[in-house]
Symmetry: C2
Subunit: 317 residues, 2 copies
């Protein structure tokens, strides 16, 4: 790859193929990232990162597509990062879903990319902020981070985003599930999509009750519940307005910067951990094969795994 | 909790409530585990751990329930560990699914437990082998580890199990998906459930072609493809027979012990890493708040995250 300073210049100038290559390097945890990260660091901080999460079937892709349209209409450059939970089974479906996004294929101010988190040793927590920095350096005003609501990815996306939008729809099973599972805590805004369907009103009512009960921290932001019908575009303008208001409010209270600090803490910890993991790996592939010896003792019941782990860490130091 | 030696005795004597408490302690990564692990280590190694994985809808719970029945019929004591990928959205569905398992609620030789992996700092790789040791110490002959095929859990389950069964069913979308995604490499046995449905024959044909092409290592075990109709019990006896043969064959070639060594390596690494992570955490909550300072520099573009991670690791040493 070309030198990091040139990469920064060319990203800024709108080189899409280069952005694609940078994102691939991040996905693969390529060694070039270290230099690149240093070059991009000062160029970032501008983009508004919006996380979108929800169970399969709530209409996430349709809402995302409409949101892109609304943001483009007012001149924003829009990046989309679809976080693939790396499932052998659902991996294909994620991309198949986004036929609607094809309409932006020729729009130079829209860049859609799906990213698997398994290539990066630091996981999504380390890879996604890097990717966001790539979008940011390339001058995108908004980056939509879309993740399917399975596994822990929706909790991770909430940590990565400036604002987290949780999508629900009527008829997706018990609404109370959502509360129990902790999505209430991660949502800065809720969208009830397919709001023209049966059951929407009772879902909204239930959600409203739960939002009223939940603790949203000291600064008193009450997450709004936005009704949308993505297939007709209904409610999308309202959603954009709410997102703007959320940002303004968060900047006013200082939560914006606090949250970005939290994101940086998570990222730095994940990278530090990945580097420690790499060293443990090196210890095991290296000379004494200490790990194999210890594992043999564990397998055969001569040693318990905690004691073995202590010895492995001690051997590394 | 009572002292570790007594725990071992009482587990061996069939104390189910105690087993439940031990499994909870593992899930929560309770400090008592260290002593417990040391006490249980010599008592284990007997149970045959069978992983079952597949996309939602293939009939995993039904196959599991039939398998329990067949194993019970020949006198095996059977443990079931349902690994919950900790999804806020799907967490409930996993348990709702297992109404069929209710028939074993009164059978003292069957113990069914679902376990979330998020409580344990070492993740599934560290928590599951511990839980298996609990079942093992309690005298279960077979432990079925069931995981829904989302996220990376099916790859992890393959690492944990003595044998990994991959379930497929006709009409679940493109069969070729499976190959692309790497499930072929993890399957020691394949089950095509709902084998009486349209499309079963072509799915089997396709799978057979792919299994023939895949590399199964030096010892030449060709994963069989078993047809089942779990709703009628068809094919379950065949599956049990194949699982027995797999074990006999693996013990003969030495792969059995190799695989258990690999499992112990993964477990010890995960625990070692968790202990390092704990120390990084301590570094950040402690005096200098080094992590927060570094994260501020990263957030504000004064430092790149890789350099920050290096400094964090250096500060710890």
């Amino acid at each position: 790859m070309i030198d990091p300073e040139t990469v920064r210049e060319r990203l800024r100038a709108g080189d899409r193929r280069l952005l694609a290559r940078v994102l691939s390097a991040i996905e693969d945890d390529a060694p070039v990232l270290r230099d690149l990260a240093a070059a991009l660091a000062p160029a970032t901080g501008h983009a508004y990162v919006i996380g979108l999460t929800g169970a399969p079937g709530v209409g996430k892709s349709s809402v995302t597509a409409e949101l892109i349209g609304a943001l483009r209409a007012r001149g924003d450059r829009v990046g989309v990062l679809a976080v693939d939970p790396s499932s052998p089974f659902s991996g294909g479906a994620l991309l198949g879903d986004r036929v609607r996004m094809q309409e932006y294929a020729l729009d130079d101010a829209v860049f859609i990319r799906s990213m698997a988190s398994r290539g990066h040793l630091g996981g999504l927590s380390a890879a996604a902020p890097q990717a966001l920095r790539g979008f940011d350096a390339a001058g995108y005003d908004v980056v939509l981070v879309e993740t399917v609501g399975v596994g822990q990815s929706e909790v991770e996306v909430a940590r990565i985003a400036d604002a987290c939008v949780v999508l629900l729809a009527p008829g997706m099973g018990d609404g109370v599930q959502a509360a129990k599972a902790g999505v209430l805590e991660i949502g800065d805004l809720f969208v009830v999509n397919k709001a023209d369907r049966d059951g929407a009103q009772s879902l909204i009512r239930e959600l409203r009750g739960m939002v009223a009960l939940a603790d949203h921290g000291p600064d008193d932001w009450k997450p709004p519940i936005v009704r949308t019908v993505a297939t007709t575009g209904e409610g999308i303008a309202d959603l954009v307005g709410r997102l703007d208001r959320f940002r303004a409010e968060a900047e006013r209270t200082g939560r914006w910067q606090d949250r970005r600090l939290g994101r940086a803490e998570t990222e730095v910890s994940a990278l530090a951990l990945a580097s420690l993991r790499r060293r443990l790996g090196a210890a095991d592939s290296g000379g004494g094969d200490r790990l194999v010896e210890l594992a043999e003792d564990v397998r055969d019941g001569r040693l318990d795994p905690y004691a073995a782990a202590d010895r492995l860490v001690a051997a590394r130091e």
